[in-house]
């Protein structure tokens, strides 16, 4: 008795029919559990309060912020290198972006301290992680 497709190359055994049919119902789900706990931040709060007394007469000369170069404080002379964000869409946002002035809303005191001591702050101080690792290795 003849049957349809008898003289074609269509496989007759199921294992051969599966040869070019990946088991597509096996759907990978790895990584979904990590969406639950990434990013997790764990920190240790330290909630003691300090400098609350009104009659604390210790004073600080803010002018020494930029002038003081004490020998035993090498650490403070270290140039701070800030992190450049990797996901903030600096460029894509810029199309309909209205720049805001971050300094607005600061108290008069803060504003004057800031303007008196603003270091020349340029993008060189903001680096990506890879650049840093590279630098350390050199």
């Amino acid at each position: 008795m003849s049957y349809p497709g008898e003289d074609t190359g269509i496989p007759r055994r199921i294992i051969e029919a599966l040869e070019d049919q990946p088991l597509s119902y096996l759907i990978p789900k790895d990584g979904l559990a990590s969406l639950v706990n990434a990013p997790t931040t764990v920190s240790l709060p330290f909630d003691r309060t300090v400098f609350t007394s009104d009659d604390d007469c210790r004073g600080v000369d803010v002018n020494r912020l930029s002038t003081a170069v004490s020998i035993n404080n090498d650490a403070e002379q270290t140039k701070l290198v800030f992190k450049r964000p990797s996901n903030f869409t600096l460029s894509t946002n810029s199309v309909d972006h209205t720049p805001s002035n971050f300094l607005k809303g600061l108290s008069p005191l803060a504003q004057s301290v800031l303007s008196a001591h603003k270091e020349s702050f340029d993008s060189d101080n903001i680096e990506k992680k890879r650049e840093i690792v590279h630098e350390v290795q050199q």
């Binding site: 349809p4 497709g5 074609t8 269509i10 496989p11 055994r13 199921i14 294992i15 051969e16 029919a17 599966l18 070019d20 049919q21 990946p22 088991l23 597509s24 119902y25 096996l26 759907i27 990978p28 790895d30 979904l32 990590s34 969406l35 639950v36 990434a38 990013p39 997790t40 931040t41 240790l44 330290f46 309060t49 300090v50 400098f51 609350t52 210790r58 004073g59 600080v60 000369d61 803010v62 003081a68 650490a75 290198v81 800030f82 964000p85 990797s86 996901n87 600096l90 946002n93 720049p99 805001s100 971050f102 600061l106 301290v113 800031l114 008196a116 001591h117 270091e119 903001i126 840093i132």
Partner: protein, 623 residues
């Protein structure tokens, strides 16, 4: 400048530091240009300088010094790469604390230094080298604390054991992570928030790695009490139980209902506490703050839930319009974009927001990946994706490429083998690769001539050994879809009506796999009392798998002619619902034709023949 003719008071300077920091944080979500980034950091810079000024210019009590140092170091760690500087500040503070005459009252301060040195700093440095050093120091600290008698030291030891486990996770020392968690859990007071928190970390870790979850951990998870742990941790518990179901390919309706009931009474507190995190109290003055933004924040949690739901339904996706995932994956995508755009400042650092966006982006990647998968199920082809897209993981992209090669009839044995052998591949992708690879090789055995047979059989056996080993090591063994697939592939390659060249096997193997088939068949049979039997063997409606189980069961286990005919008819029919199943439908159809002929159903014979003719035309015209 006139303002500074006189000195500022110490608290004025301290408040200035806070003002600069908080002001920067309040703008953290609005940064959209280089100029604004610079402004953000000039504020942060000023905050750090204020703290430094206080430390340098004032005589500080040990308590004040601690507080200022901790606040400054937090900024250094979070915002800068000056980790060495941060370490220097902590170390010298630690020295001051330890030489202080009343050092017994300063336990909290000393422990805080240790936590920064062993936890915060290494995590930010994120290098194997620093993790190893921290782990060694952490173990020493734990030993020392454990040798002290007071209860407070016991609790601090518990905290640092947890830190040690965290470091082991980063070092990928799975065995030490598992024993670490088990040891820690066994020493915790029962029914405490701390123990349940640790158990949540443990279960999440096991799920991430796809390790089997021990019964005890599952019990602890189940027993987690809302009143003790609070709504945030409870939401985490519910989310993990949902993922467990999802990884088992089980029904999630009951879990969705549980979430609904939970939201009825707790939604408000999740919304209003957003960003505050969850406080975990071990004892007075030992409190950890934990934040999982994707779970503790109401909108994010709803979005993750919808994603999990969509993924759970993808396997049923053979109706373009009717399937849940078709509707909701795009919704998850657009919600996630909105969440990125409207990310709230909430008084956290820009760098923390930055790492949150990383997670949002991987949600977007998942959405795109699963949309491609829907197309595979609907049309039996892989929609060509932009090659620039990396997908949720590189292995996923490689898997799609290998499947594409297999769809084109070129086997993809090499591609699958490479994926399965690569150390970076997850166990799940490894398993998919191995099973597809095995199918292709078993098909080759079926078609082969005498001389190449031995070599091909050898290759099949090798792949199968890996399949069995992997199944034992992972949580895949608890998923009936995987178990069933392993069973039917083995039987297909070892029995005559399914292959021309059955592979050799022992009687015991045969008996084992046959008894499994019996279970799966009776629980998933199309006709008669289909769906009866043990719930453990009930399969989700994965069309291809359902057809294969019924075809196999119908041929090997069924004796009643009428029953056989009904099953082959249903198998033949249902194949049409999914794209790209032509060849399988043909094999199934030939069987159905045979059953119609044997049953002397003239009408059915003619109808089935006509359908098969059309199918043959369709298959051959594609080639």
């Amino acid at each position: 400048m006139d303002h500074f003719g006189e000195k500022l008071s110490i608290s004025q300077v301290y408040n200035l530091a806070h003002e600069f920091r908080d002001h920067a944080y309040s703008y953290a979500n609005k940064i959209g240009s280089e100029e604004e980034l610079k402004q953000y950091y000039s504020l942060i810079n000023m905050a750090i300088r204020m703290f430094q000024l206080l430390k340098r210019e004032c005589t500080l009590s040990v308590m004040e010094d601690s507080k200022i140092t901790f606040e400054m170091v937090e900024l250094l760690i979070q915002e800068t790469y000056n980790f060495d500087l941060a370490e220097l500040y902590i170390s010298s503070l630690k020295e001051r604390l330890q030489t202080h005459q009343n050092s017994i009252d300063l336990v909290e301060e000393v422990m805080h230094c240790e936590f920064l040195l062993l936890h915060d700093l290494p995590l930010m440095r994120d290098s194997k080298f620093h993790y190893k050093i921290a782990l060694r120091n952490c173990n020493e600290l734990v030993q020392y604390l454990a040798s002290l008698q007071d209860e407070i030291y016991r609790n601090w030891a518990s905290v640092f054991k947890y830190v040690g486990v965290t470091l082991c996770i980063k070092l990928k020392q799975c065995r030490r992570v598992k024993t670490g968690f088990r040891g820690l859990l066994s020493q915790c007071p029962e029914k405490s928030q701390w123990k349940w928190f640790l158990n949540l970390c443990y279960v999440n870790y096991l799920l991430n790695e796809r390790f089997p979850i021990p019964e005890e951990a599952l019990q602890d998870l189940k027993s987690t009490e809302l009143d003790t742990v609070g709504p945030e941790l409870y939401a985490w518990k519910l989310a993990l139980e949902m993922v467990i179901q999802l990884y088992k390919d089980k029904n999630i309706t009951e879990h969705l209902n549980e979430f609904k009931r939970f939201f009825d009474t707790n939604k408000q507190s999740l919304v209003s506490d957003e960003g505050k995190g969850c406080l975990i109290r071990l004892m007075p003055r030992i409190t950890l703050r934990v934040d999982l933004p994707m779970i503790f924040h109401y909108k994010e949690l709803k979005n993750i839930l919808l994603l999990l739901q969509s993924v759970s339904y993808i396997v049923n996706c053979y109706d373009e319009k009717g399937n849940f995932s078709r509707k909701f994956l795009p919704k998850v995508y657009s919600t996630t974009q909105k969440l990125i755009k409207n990310i709230a400042a909430n008084g956290v650092s820009m760098n923390e927001l930055d790492s949150r966006i990383q997670t949002y982006k991987s949600i977007l990647d998942f959405c795109e990946f699963y949309k491609v998968w829907e197309e595979i199920l609907l049309r039996g082809t892989i929609a060509t994706t932009e090659s620039s897209k990396l997908g949720p993981s590189p292995a996923y992209v490689k898997l799609l490429r290998a499947m594409e090669v297999q769809f084109q009839g070129e086997g993809a044995v090499e591609e699958y083998t490479r994926l399965a052998q690569s150390s970076g591949t997850s166990s799940e992708v490894k398993m998919i690769s191995l099973l597809n690879c095995y199918t292709v090789q078993a098909a080759r055995v079926s078609r082969c001539s005498g001389d190449e047979r031995n070599e091909l059989v050898e290759q099949c056996n090798k792949v199968w050994q890996q399949v069995e080993k992997l199944l034992q090591e992972t949580d895949l063994q608890f998923n009936p879809i995987w178990e069933c697939t392993v069973t039917i592939l083995w039987l297909f390659s070892h029995f005559e009506p399914f292959t021309w060249n059955p592979l050799p096997c022992s009687d015991k193997e045969r008996a084992d796999y046959m008894s499994k088939l019996r279970q799966f068949y009776s629980s998933n049979k199309f006709a008669g009392e289909g769906g009866a039997g043990d719930g453990r063997f009930k399969l989700k409606k994965a069309l291809l798998l359902q057809v294969l189980v019924n075809y196999l069961g119908g041929r090997m286990l069924e004796h009643d002619l009428g029953e056989i005919h009904a099953i082959s008819g249903k198998c033949f029919d249902i194949c049409r619902q999914q794209g790209g199943m032509g060849k399988i439908q043909y094999v199934v159809g030939i069987w159905h034709l045979m059953n119609c002929t044997v049953g002397m159903r003239g009408k059915d014979v003619a109808l089935t023949k006509a359908k098969l003719e059309a199918l043959v035309k369709q298959i051959t015209s594609v080639k």
